[in-house]
Protein backbone atom coordinates (compact mmCIF):
# COMPACT_ATOMS: atom_id res chain seq x y z
CA UNK A 1 0.00 0.00 0.00
CA UNK A 2 1.14 3.52 -0.71
CA UNK A 3 2.57 5.42 2.23
CA UNK A 4 3.33 9.03 3.02
CA UNK A 5 6.36 10.08 1.00
CA UNK A 6 8.77 12.74 2.18
CA UNK A 7 11.71 14.31 0.43
CA UNK A 8 14.52 14.80 0.82
CA UNK A 9 15.36 12.23 3.47
CA UNK A 10 18.45 14.10 4.54
CA UNK A 11 19.38 17.75 4.12
CA UNK A 12 22.36 19.75 5.32
CA UNK A 13 22.15 23.53 5.31
CA UNK A 14 24.18 26.37 6.71
CA UNK A 15 22.90 28.96 9.15
CA UNK A 16 20.75 31.64 7.57
CA UNK A 17 20.05 29.50 4.53
CA UNK A 18 16.62 28.35 3.34
CA UNK A 19 15.29 24.80 3.16
CA UNK A 20 12.17 23.27 1.63
CA UNK A 21 10.74 19.92 2.64
CA UNK A 22 8.09 18.11 0.64
CA UNK A 23 5.35 15.73 1.71
CA UNK A 24 3.21 13.57 -0.56
CA UNK A 25 0.23 12.17 1.35
CA UNK A 26 -1.35 8.81 0.78
CA UNK A 27 -3.63 8.99 -2.30
CA UNK A 28 -7.09 10.40 -1.52
CA UNK A 29 -5.93 11.76 1.83
CA UNK A 30 -7.01 15.38 2.21
CA UNK A 31 -5.41 16.34 5.53
CA UNK A 32 -1.71 16.85 6.15
CA UNK A 33 0.11 17.49 9.43
CA UNK A 34 3.71 18.65 9.94
CA UNK A 35 5.80 17.85 13.01
CA UNK A 36 9.25 18.69 14.27
CA UNK A 37 11.15 16.27 16.49
CA UNK A 38 14.45 17.23 18.07
CA UNK A 39 16.92 14.62 19.27
CA UNK A 40 15.49 12.71 22.22
CA UNK A 41 12.29 14.75 22.19
CA UNK A 42 8.65 13.98 21.46
CA UNK A 43 7.14 15.20 18.18
CA UNK A 44 5.95 18.80 18.25
CA UNK A 45 3.00 19.81 16.10
CA UNK A 46 3.81 22.60 13.65
CA UNK A 47 0.90 23.09 11.26
CA UNK A 48 -1.88 21.26 9.47
CA UNK A 49 -3.90 21.59 6.28
CA UNK A 50 -7.28 20.34 5.13
CA UNK A 51 -8.33 20.62 1.50
CA UNK A 52 -5.48 23.01 0.74
CA UNK A 53 -6.44 25.40 3.52
CA UNK A 54 -4.50 25.84 6.75
CA UNK A 55 -6.37 24.19 9.59
CA UNK A 56 -4.31 24.85 12.66
CA UNK A 57 -0.94 26.14 13.80
CA UNK A 58 1.20 24.86 16.60
CA UNK A 59 4.66 25.90 17.66
CA UNK A 60 5.77 26.90 14.18
CA UNK A 61 8.30 29.74 14.05
CA UNK A 62 7.47 32.80 11.97
CA UNK A 63 10.50 31.92 9.81
CA UNK A 64 8.65 28.80 8.67
CA UNK A 65 5.76 28.66 6.25
CA UNK A 66 3.86 25.86 4.61
CA UNK A 67 1.15 25.23 2.08
CA UNK A 68 -0.84 22.43 0.56
CA UNK A 69 -1.13 22.34 -3.22
CA UNK A 70 -3.95 21.32 -5.56
CA UNK A 71 -2.57 17.78 -5.79
CA UNK A 72 -2.63 17.68 -1.95
CA UNK A 73 1.12 17.52 -1.54
CA UNK A 74 2.52 19.93 1.00
CA UNK A 75 5.75 21.87 1.36
CA UNK A 76 7.37 23.25 4.49
CA UNK A 77 9.59 26.24 3.83
CA UNK A 78 12.15 27.23 6.43
CA UNK A 79 14.14 30.43 6.13
CA UNK A 80 16.95 32.05 8.12
CA UNK A 81 17.85 28.63 9.45
CA UNK A 82 19.26 28.39 12.95
CA UNK A 83 21.27 25.63 14.58
CA UNK A 84 18.25 24.82 16.73
CA UNK A 85 16.22 23.97 13.64
CA UNK A 86 18.23 20.77 13.27
CA UNK A 87 15.65 18.05 13.74
CA UNK A 88 13.62 15.31 12.14
CA UNK A 89 10.62 16.76 10.32
CA UNK A 90 7.86 14.42 9.44
CA UNK A 91 4.44 14.78 8.01
CA UNK A 92 1.33 12.71 8.38
CA UNK A 93 -1.87 12.38 6.45
CA UNK A 94 -5.42 11.10 6.77
CA UNK A 95 -8.69 11.21 4.89
CA UNK A 96 -11.16 13.18 6.98
CA UNK A 97 -14.36 11.39 5.98
CA UNK A 98 -13.13 7.84 6.33
CA UNK A 99 -9.83 7.99 8.16
CA UNK A 100 -9.74 7.50 11.87
CA UNK A 101 -6.04 6.74 11.63
CA UNK A 102 -3.19 9.12 10.88
CA UNK A 103 -0.28 7.75 8.86
CA UNK A 104 3.20 9.18 9.17
CA UNK A 105 6.03 9.48 6.71
CA UNK A 106 9.59 8.43 7.46
CA UNK A 107 10.70 12.00 7.99
CA UNK A 108 13.27 14.40 6.62
CA UNK A 109 16.45 14.94 8.61
CA UNK A 110 17.57 18.56 8.58
CA UNK A 111 21.01 19.40 9.87
CA UNK A 112 21.96 23.06 10.16
CA UNK A 113 25.68 23.74 10.45
Amino acid sequence: AAGVIQSPRHLIKEKRETATLKCYPIPRHDTVYWYQQGPGQDPQFLISFYEKMQSDKGSIPDRFSAQQFSDYHSELNMSSLELGDSALYFCASRRRETGNTIYFGEGSWLTVV
Binding site: P43, G58, R96, E97, T98, I102, G105, G107
Partner: protein, 113 residues
Protein backbone atom coordinates in the same frame (compact mmCIF):
# COMPACT_ATOMS: atom_id res chain seq x y z
CA UNK B 1 -7.42 15.65 22.03
CA UNK B 2 -7.55 14.26 25.52
CA UNK B 3 -4.38 14.61 27.59
CA UNK B 4 -2.57 11.34 28.11
CA UNK B 5 -0.11 10.10 30.71
CA UNK B 6 2.23 7.18 30.18
CA UNK B 7 5.25 5.81 32.05
CA UNK B 8 8.43 7.46 30.84
CA UNK B 9 10.29 4.20 30.41
CA UNK B 10 9.99 0.44 30.81
CA UNK B 11 12.44 -2.43 30.64
CA UNK B 12 11.76 -6.06 29.85
CA UNK B 13 13.37 -9.18 28.45
CA UNK B 14 12.97 -11.09 25.24
CA UNK B 15 10.05 -13.50 25.26
CA UNK B 16 8.15 -11.63 27.97
CA UNK B 17 4.76 -10.00 27.66
CA UNK B 18 4.89 -6.23 28.04
CA UNK B 19 1.94 -4.10 29.08
CA UNK B 20 2.06 -0.32 28.73
CA UNK B 21 -0.76 1.64 30.33
CA UNK B 22 -1.97 5.05 29.25
CA UNK B 23 -4.19 7.24 31.40
CA UNK B 24 -6.72 9.53 29.72
CA UNK B 25 -9.13 10.68 32.38
CA UNK B 26 -10.88 13.30 30.25
CA UNK B 27 -11.57 11.08 27.27
CA UNK B 28 -14.69 12.17 25.37
CA UNK B 29 -17.54 9.99 24.16
CA UNK B 30 -16.44 10.00 20.52
CA UNK B 31 -12.72 9.63 21.18
CA UNK B 32 -10.74 6.68 19.86
CA UNK B 33 -7.50 5.40 21.39
CA UNK B 34 -4.58 4.84 19.04
CA UNK B 35 -1.10 3.54 19.75
CA UNK B 36 1.98 4.28 17.68
CA UNK B 37 5.49 2.85 17.73
CA UNK B 38 8.49 4.94 16.83
CA UNK B 39 12.02 3.76 16.16
CA UNK B 40 14.92 6.24 16.23
CA UNK B 41 15.03 8.49 13.18
CA UNK B 42 11.76 7.12 11.80
CA UNK B 43 8.20 8.36 11.72
CA UNK B 44 5.65 6.88 14.13
CA UNK B 45 4.06 3.65 12.92
CA UNK B 46 0.44 2.72 13.62
CA UNK B 47 0.10 -0.30 15.91
CA UNK B 48 -3.50 -0.60 17.02
CA UNK B 49 -6.67 1.38 17.62
CA UNK B 50 -9.74 0.81 19.71
CA UNK B 51 -12.85 2.38 21.20
CA UNK B 52 -13.84 0.01 23.99
CA UNK B 53 -13.27 -3.50 25.41
CA UNK B 54 -10.52 -5.40 23.65
CA UNK B 55 -8.94 -5.21 20.23
CA UNK B 56 -6.36 -7.63 18.90
CA UNK B 57 -4.31 -7.68 15.73
CA UNK B 58 -1.26 -9.58 14.55
CA UNK B 59 1.19 -7.54 16.63
CA UNK B 60 -0.61 -6.36 19.78
CA UNK B 61 -3.70 -6.26 21.91
CA UNK B 62 -5.43 -3.21 23.32
CA UNK B 63 -7.45 -3.46 26.51
CA UNK B 64 -9.90 -0.69 27.36
CA UNK B 65 -11.93 -0.85 30.58
CA UNK B 66 -15.57 0.12 30.70
CA UNK B 67 -14.92 3.65 31.95
CA UNK B 68 -12.36 4.20 29.13
CA UNK B 69 -10.20 6.38 31.37
CA UNK B 70 -7.18 4.25 30.64
CA UNK B 71 -5.97 1.75 28.11
CA UNK B 72 -3.29 -0.92 28.06
CA UNK B 73 -1.19 -1.89 25.09
CA UNK B 74 -0.08 -5.50 25.36
CA UNK B 75 2.88 -6.78 23.36
CA UNK B 76 3.16 -10.58 23.53
CA UNK B 77 6.57 -12.25 23.59
CA UNK B 78 8.64 -9.17 22.87
CA UNK B 79 11.92 -9.30 20.99
CA UNK B 80 14.88 -6.95 20.77
CA UNK B 81 13.28 -5.32 17.74
CA UNK B 82 10.41 -4.08 19.91
CA UNK B 83 12.76 -1.60 21.57
CA UNK B 84 11.17 1.71 20.64
CA UNK B 85 9.09 4.61 21.93
CA UNK B 86 5.38 3.95 22.21
CA UNK B 87 2.82 6.77 22.06
CA UNK B 88 -0.82 6.71 23.07
CA UNK B 89 -3.04 9.23 21.27
CA UNK B 90 -6.65 9.84 22.20
CA UNK B 91 -9.15 11.78 20.16
CA UNK B 92 -11.99 11.93 17.71
CA UNK B 93 -10.87 11.91 14.11
CA UNK B 94 -13.55 10.35 11.96
CA UNK B 95 -15.60 13.08 10.28
CA UNK B 96 -14.02 15.62 12.56
CA UNK B 97 -11.90 18.58 11.64
CA UNK B 98 -9.37 17.54 14.25
CA UNK B 99 -6.42 19.43 12.94
CA UNK B 100 -4.02 19.53 15.84
CA UNK B 101 -2.84 16.10 16.86
CA UNK B 102 -0.67 16.50 19.93
CA UNK B 103 1.79 13.92 21.15
CA UNK B 104 2.30 13.46 24.84
CA UNK B 105 5.44 11.99 26.30
CA UNK B 106 5.78 8.45 25.07
CA UNK B 107 7.07 5.35 26.82
CA UNK B 108 10.61 4.31 26.00
CA UNK B 109 10.59 0.52 26.00
CA UNK B 110 13.94 -1.27 26.22
CA UNK B 111 14.11 -5.00 25.61
CA UNK B 112 17.13 -6.93 26.83
CA UNK B 113 18.38 -10.37 25.74
Amino acid sequence: LAKTTQPISMDSYEGQEVNITCSHNNIATNDYITWYQQFPSQGPRFIIQGYKTKVTNEVASLFIPADRKSSTLSLPRVSLSDTAVYYCLVGELLYSSASKIIFGSGTRLSIRP
